[in-house]
Amino acid sequence: MLEIQGVSKQYGSAVVVRQVRLQVGQGEFFCILGPSGCGKTTLLRLIAGFERPTEGRILLDGVDITHTPPYRRDVNTVFQNYALFPHCTVFGNVAYGLQVRRRPAGEIRERVDQALETVGLAGLADRMPAQLSGGQQQRVALARALINRPRILLLDEPLSALDKKIGEQMRYELADLQAKTGITFIYVTHNQVEAMSMAGRVAVMNRGSVEQCAPPAELYRSPATRFTADFVGSMNFFDGRIAEAGPDSFGILLADQTLVHRRGEAGARPGDPVVFGLRPEQLKVSLLEPRDFENGLFGRIERQVFVGDATLLRIRLSNGSPVEVRVPNYLVLENRVMALEPDEEVWVVWSQGSGVVLHD
């Protein structure tokens, strides 16, 4: 439905958005994820029409809207700071889109009531925005943007200003709302948890380019680039090269000459440089040497960080590089492992089925 064809945006010599190609389908909950400054908000503003691309085209339902002004695009936006009109009541804010379209007063009243009902603000129509809490303002902004039943709703980090709890609750409500209305959502965030928990597909952006576009699980399981792997969840990286390649397994020679094994196809020839990535939760610590189907590296526990449901261990390997291991705390709680001491020397082990090979 929405097609972004090779869109770039330049300010002077600074390229903010670089050759972005994306397709968003009808009714999708699409997320654009990236660190601040990656160009995601600019991309959103290009879709909304507040900016014109330096090159490329934007198509909505097959119609080129690249140069259509924002007020003629069937796209509405929920702004990061909500941008409510402070001199209008809640009703006035939500009704605005209908009023400028000169709908009859009866219809406006009805649809505004309905929209406020939908976002759970029934009865607050006569308040002024300044009299509302952050969460309530957020809902007003949502209702205001949805009142015109746009083809696409753009959300620019809408939850970033909310308390954590309220933000989490809003995530579910947003997902429900999207499912209920069937409107295509394009959601911009730097918070990967938000992206993963709501989106059907996520586009990861870095320095103006889209690094990868995939459903959250795929993104997590097989990140295409080192950036994605690092930004979505966390990852321990090891530089190395393919040492030997068999039909159903291959070996990687890490920089410190340790050979680790990985089941599956190499997808590369021996000698090719690769980056091998392991998620902290894929690793275990053990006092015993790795078994046949496991890889292992030896190191010393440097620091333990308790994060509630897990403990993060920072281990300095014998080759000098650090590794992070995530140990679920239920094991500790159930007394199934003994407590680890700082400075204790341990094996970091993982199954030969784990790990991502990135051909960088």
Binding site: P69, R72, T77
Partner: protein, 617 residues
């Protein structure tokens, strides 16, 4: 509690005695002048500073003064229009400075401060020169333009401060929701700006309402605003009417302030007040514009002249007869008249300069030759006055009045016999003597006292005369031409130079003021009627001159202003006591006397140099 409070305010100044007195002093400075004004507006006396008992007569006189109401109306229109225009312009400026990035933006922002810091008089002169170059006739348009020029930067700066606090995403939200840029401006940008807009508009209105300097330079005759009117009242006839006007203005301001205060109490009142005020303002504007338009359709004749130089009844009858509205615009002296008329399009039809000015004005091409065929009543004039030496062809002028300068004094205070101008050099009356605020009158008198004649153009004589005047300077109350009667009547001065007509007017009611021609002799003058080259309405000017020459009108006019006119038939019709009065009709034996004040040519510069020194030292 009180002790605590005072301790908190205590700057080591004791228990507040000092603060109490300084507060009192502040109050005194603020209120004292106003109290005096208000009290004296109920004065029965015709003198501003002499209390004669409670009376409302000046209120009645002021409120029925048509010219005053016209001035108020003009001020309201000018202030209203310029407030509206400068608010619109200021808002645009603020938006473009606040929102739009362009080359030279900082320069424009800096330029905005220019009218704010520039001395107003410079702005006034600059505007005058601009209008002259653009060849625009001075009037409403130029005054409003001038006021917009100095008030819109204030508005712009006030609104800019607000614009910079606006949240830009709100505009984007509005566009996003389908509102066009114009609708976004009206519904999202304008509402938060409204309070700033209103206060800026009110501010522009206020500074326009009390502006004098720029108005003075940009106005034309017939567009007298209230400050100009008050100024001319002070200049050409100080009466308690000024106090009344001030009292009324104070009352008006108070009512507005109270109303605004009342409105701010709560929202409903505010809306009510806004609606009421808006409706009232709209109705007022409509009325004003209609009255101006109505007047515009009427034919106008603008005459630049001296105060009290036309009889009001004669003017009224002319207007009734022809439908032409005569507007009088007053000048202090011939020099000022020359300055005002020689600049661009002053919008003046007729002037009444002294004869010697005709040579100067004629040389500068300011005068239009008169067509005798359009003035059949010229036949009533004394032929001797038709071709005086300053214009031997008689093409440029019609003689209007003639008269002379004499010595005028209060016989209750100057009791010894008087026969010489030396009275004006008498140490005993130090500080209570008055000379005309007129260069030639001063130097002619000084020459006369020394036995010289100004027309000889002798620099040595001039220096001697100058020394004499310098010697007199500390004895004088001031130089003043137009308030001689008022100052004598008020007892501020005891002796002065005065023109015969002026003196007669006071003398008829107050015989203690004596008028005479001192033994050293005096200066005769002829004032003329001249048509300016730039006259907007020459046809009306011809009609008016012809009308004035009609013996019946001339007679009535003479009796009103008490100056002689060279119209034998008119003189014949006057009552014997006036007809044979030698003060009104000085016996003229030698016509050359009348041209005594000839154009002095380059010598005039020498005189002027000394005159300026005399006045400024």
């Amino acid at each position: 509690m009180a002790g605590q409070l005072s301790r908190r305010n205590d700057l080591g100044l004791g228990q507040g005695a000092f603060l109490r007195y300084s507060t009192g002093l502040c109050l005194f400075f603020l209120v004292a002048p106003l109290v005096v004004l208000v009290v004296y507006s109920f004065n029965g006396s015709s003198q501003v500073t002499v209390w004669e008992g409670f009376s409302l007569k000046w209120f009645a006189a002021t409120i029925s003064d048509r010219e005053l109401w016209i001035a108020i109306r003009n001020s309201m229109i000018v202030a209203g229009l310029s407030a509206l225009i400068s608010t619109a312009l200021g808002t645009l400026t603020a938006l473009s400075l606040g929102r739009y990035v362009f080359r030279g933006r900082r320069i424009l922002a800096g330029l905005l401060y220019v009218p704010v810091v520039l001395p107003e008089i410079i702005l006034g002169i600059a505007l005058l020169v601009l209008f002259v170059l653009l060849d625009i006739q001075r009037g409403f348009l130029t005054v409003v333009c001038g006021h917009v020029t100095f008030s819109f930067p204030f508005v712009g700066l006030m609104i800019l401060a607000r614009v910079q606090t606006l949240d830009r995403t709100q505009e984007e939200a509005s566009l996003d929701l389908g509102a066009s840029p114009w609708r976004t401006f009206r519904r999202v940008i304008l509402p938060p700006l409204t309070p700033a807009l209103l206060s800026a508009m009110l501010f522009a209105f206020t500074i326009s309402l009390d502006d004098f300097v720029v108005t003075f330079f940009t106005t034309g005759p017939g567009v007298t605003t209230l400050p100009l009117k008050v100024y001319s009242l002070v200049k050409f006839g100080l009466t308690p009417a000024i106090n009344v006007i001030s009292t009324l203005m104070i009352a008006f301001t108070l009512v507005v302030l109270l109303a605004v205060n009342w409105m701010q109490e709560d929202g409903t009142r505010q809306r009510l007040g806004m609606r009421l005020g808006g409706g009232l303002a709209a109705a007022l504007v409509l009325l004003l514009v209609m009255s101006v338009l109505g007047e515009r359709r009427q034919s106008r004749l603008v005459v630049a002249t001296w105060p009290n130089y036309f009889d009001q009844g004669v003017l009224d009858e002319f207007e009734a007869r022809t439908g032409i509205h005569v507007i009088l615009s007053y000048f202090n002296d011939n020099e000022e008249m020359l300055a005002k008329t020689s600049f661009g399009k002053p919008g003046i039809d007729l002037v009444t300069p002294a004869g010697f000015m005709i040579e100067i004005m004629g040389k500068q091409g300011l005068l239009s030759p008169l067509d005798p065929d359009r003035l059949p009543n010229l036949r009533y004039l004394d032929e001797r006055f038709r071709r005086l030496p300053f214009d031997p062809t008689g093409r440029y002028y019609v003689p209007y009045t003639y008269g002379f300068t004499g010595l005028f004094y209060d016989s209750t205070k100057v009791t010894e016999p008087v026969d010489s101008w030396r009275l004006l050099w008498d140490e005993r009356y130090r500080g209570r003597l008055l000379m005309f605020d007129d260069m030639l009158e001063n130097f002619d008198l000084a020459h006369r006292l020394l036995g010289f004649r100004l027309v000889d153009r002798d620099t040595a004589h001039l220096d001697a005369a100058f020394a004499l005047l310098q010697q007199q300077r500390p004895l004088l109350r001031k130089h003043e031409s137009n308030l001689v009667n008022e100052m004598l009547l008020g007892g501020e001065v005891v002796a002065a130079q005065n023109w015969n007509g002026n003196a007669m007017r006071l003398n008829r009611k107050h015989p203690q003021f004596k008028f005479l021609i001192p033994k050293e002799g005096t200066l005769l003058f002829v004032d003329t009627l001249c048509l300016l080259q730039t006259a907007p309405n020459p046809a009306a000017a011809y009609a008016f001159v012809n009308y004035l020459l009609e013996p019946a009108n001339a007679q009535r006019n003479m009796q009103g202003i008490l100056y002689a006119m060279p119209n034998p038939e008119a003189r014949r019709r006057m009552p014997p006591e006036l007809r044979d009065d030698t003060t009104l009709f000085p016996p003229i034996t030698d016509m050359s006397q009348l041209s005594v004040m000839a154009d002095l040519g380059p010598f005039l510069q020498e005189v002027r140099k000394r005159w300026i020194r005399l006045k400024t030292e």
